[in-house]
Amino acid sequence: MTTAPAKAGWRFRQPSVIPGFGLTLGFSLAYLTLIILIPLSGLIWRSAALGWADFWAIATDRRTINALEISFGTAFIAAAVNVVFGTIVAWVLVRYNFPGRRIVDAMVDLPFALPTAVAGIALTTLYAPNGWLGSLLAPLGIKVAYTPLGIVIALIFIGLPFVVRTVQPIMEEIDKEVEEVAATLGANRFQTVARVLLPGLAPAIVTGFALAFARGVGEYGSVIFIAGNLPYKSEIAPLLIVIRLEEYNYAAATAIAAIMLALSFVMLLVINLVQTWSRKRYG
């Protein structure tokens, strides 16, 4: 007579003997409900008032689709650029000691602190056709301000600290011995970086990418100054929402917001799954 072992299903992780599990879990749930769940469900509820046909019409509207494409596309490109240069900046800050290192380190956080509108105005003045950089680029036929390229630049500016600050601590933990072992085994510097160091940093880099990307999708303040906001060309989704709000078309505004929400949620979920997978693998 054997009894089958009880099936392990969804179960709370065994709380430790130290009290506080019930209290903290209860608090977290209540807090998340108040701060995130209620506003978001309000949003979905408002957009549901539209009815399926109207919602679909707004969702498939050329202008909406273009705005979403621009928002997600520019955010993706900007996050990708930030991954490359943010990782290099983090590397320089972690690995080398040079005069002014602390100042550079502090400067990385500036985009966090600066009002985004200030950043937007500053970038626009720089890149406008008669601005400092814009006047240099104009003869080459490169237009930055009032094009999607300008949006990308604004989002690079905004997203940089996210990548640097997530990669930096992990980079600090890299064991020097791992690099030394790679060298004794005959790996040159490039091989050591590409095959030994970067794979170890990958989870942090993915996190940094996700944060920079999420921030880029939602960014409004800095973008609207430099984008030029031409419908179908350089109009971002958050701006379209604001336009609809100003037209008192709340239903359309919430519909676009709900679509953005769904897209962002799916993308972040995918990124999260990738991360869980890599953590499980490398321990």
Binding site: D175, E177, V178, E180, V181, A182, A183, T184, L185, G186, A187, N188, Q191, R195, V196, P199, G200, A202, R281, Y282, G283
Partner: protein, 346 residues
């Protein structure tokens, strides 16, 4: 391959870590660098590997001057105390790494690399763990993988930095025996660093005792233990007792009494007498011997360790007695050391 360290000096920001060290390592030898922390043993190992550059002096691999070569060109296998495995790679990929990064015709095919990795896993007795990740292995297993990885490149010399330092005592003893077997089977010239004298004496063909950036003595386990050539080595290797004495007329004196040891070649004056606590002969009547009152007595495993106070200055020395020896109960014990050595007082 033979390794020759010639008059190497190493300074870290003006602070000397090694003073003028020379050492000849024969091909196929298993050598231990033994010393307390800060003695420069790890620095010497890293200099041989090329992980540090000597401030002065040269290091030869065979006839070639290796000091001019980069780490990559030296072809050394290095094993760290904390394994330094690549955690995002499987065991097989870890072992094959040194072959995979080769370029041109020296790089074996992927199939050949796999074959070689599983061959080495057999050698380190971890067959079948190719697909595991380092996080899924125990400490002892990780260190075996690290050794297999170092051996995969057919190194000119194998260098191990406290290879068993992070493991518990049981695993340590086991791996020690196993490393000796591997060495005998493969014949790689091997240098390992340790602060554990038992490990060094048991495992190595020759032991290099280091202290404060200098080599104190080089020799087999027997030579190091039986004929230490300095007070440091006497004190560092094994148990020892020391007594301040005086040499006069070819005799050794404590205070105003000769203790029955003749030292015709020792220089006159103050000196320190060293002997092993277990290598003493008890005498009943003290006609030229060392006598003292028992100050403390402790049972240590199979013997009894007795602390004696000698002479008017109450110098303390330890000797070992059989557990049931009657002398252990007496308040006064007289003895004469078997093998002993005198060093002039510093």
């Amino acid at each position: 391959m033979e390794v020759r360290v010639a008059n190497v000096r190493k300074e870290f920001e003006r602070f000397p870590a090694l003073h003028d060290v020379s050492l000849d390592i024969k091909s196929g030898e298993l050598i231990a660098l033994l010393g307390p922390s800060g003695s420069g043993k790890t620095t010497l190992l890293r200099l041989i590997a090329g992980l540090e550059r000597p401030t002065k002096g040269k290091i030869f691999f065979g006839e070639e001057d290796a000091s001019q070569k980069s780490i990559q060109e030296r072809n050394v296998g290095f094993v760290f105390q904390h394994y330094a495995l690549f955690r995002h790679m499987t065991v097989a990929d870890n072992i094959g790494f040194g072959l995979k990064v080769r370029r041109g015709p020296t790089r074996p095919t992927a199939q050949e690399i796999r074959r070689r990795a599983s061959e080495l896993l057999d050698l380190v007795q971890l067959s079948g763990l190719e697909k595991r990740y380092p996080a899924q292995l125990s400490g002892g297993q990780r260190q075996r993988v690290a050794l297999a990885r170092a051996m995969a490149i057919e190194p000119a010399v194998l260098l191990l930095d406290e290879p068993f330092g992070a493991l518990d005592a049981q695993v340590r003893r086991e791996l020690r025996r196993w490393l000796r077997e591997i060495h005998d089977a493969t014949g790689h010239t091997t240098v390992f660093v340790t602060h554990d004298q038992e490990e060094a004496l048991e495992l190595a063909d020759r032991v290099v005792v280091m202290s404060q950036g200098r080599i104190e003595q080089v020799g087999t386990a027997d030579e190091i233990y039986d004929t230490p050539n300095s007070p440091f080595v006497y004190g560092f290797i094994g148990e020892s007792s020391a007594l301040p004495v005086k040499v006069e007329d070819g005799q050794v004196w404590i205070a105003d009494r000769p203790i029955g040891l003749s030292a015709p070649h020792a220089s006159q004056g103050e000196a320190t007498l060293f002997f092993r606590p277990h290598d003493v002969e008890l005498v009943d009547e003290c006609n030229g011997c060392i006598a003292g009152t028992v100050a403390a007595s402790r049972r240590v495993a199979g013997t009894r360790r007795v602390e004696l106070e000698i002479g008017g200055e109450r110098q303390r020395v330890e000797i070992e007695l059989p557990v049931n020896h009657p002398a252990a109960q007496k308040s006064r014990v007289a003895f004469r050391p078997g093998r002993w050595k005198l060093f002039p007082a510093a």
